[in-house]
Amino acid sequence: MPVRIQTKDFDAGAEIAALRRDNPKIGAVASFIGVCRDANDGDAVTKMTLEHYPGMTEKALEKIVAEAKARWDVMEALVVHRVGELKPTDQIVLVIVAGAHRGEAFAACEFIMDYLKTRAPFWKKEETARGTRWVEARTSDDEAAQRWEPPKSSAA
């Protein structure tokens, strides 16, 4: 399974080792880890709760991984995303992509994260000194995802 949603922490080293085990064709492994910060929008954050839409989340992530594999020449990809209560310094998300060469692995890894940020149904609620609030979506995340869209045809 290239996609896992879980409350427990993950071990990136162990996941990478498992992903490339006994595969001598892999020459590059790119990975990303998203981590819970202690501040957001000018306020100290003491705790975060991640909610998702069970069923759709898995489907959306599997579709993103399948699209990455179709667009770049990579062999393996894994997404692990945590839900539930998290605190600053906790790991949130892990993306690993393995292929023959680094260029394709880097690009596919970044694509998966950019699409996850805008298309996978997760929501963060954070606790600050001023109370509990839902994190607002950022337009910069939409712009990051749009970089990967094929150019629109200008033909009439």
């Binding site: 998702h52 839409y53 069923g55 759709m56 298309r119 149904p121 929501w123 963060k124 839902w134 979506a137």
Partner: protein
Amino acid sequence: MKVKILYLASLREQLGKPGEDLEIPPATSTVAGLRTLLMARGGAWQTVLAQGKALRVAVNQEMAQPTTPVKPGDEIAFFPPVTGG
């Protein structure tokens, strides 16, 4: 026709319920039509689902557009823009 509706994250809190099974008129055949039907309840329904509010809709767990058809037995989820990762 009968549909299953879900309200997720901040929408669940603002509307005061996680979802509902709803009998809707056959004329309510799109996502936009269902949104209008729910807004007609007034109060929080009208303000939370108002046009112009950043809102996402999924039909049967696939991202949908206002024109996406709504059919009997569909699962329709309303939620705010996503913030994972």
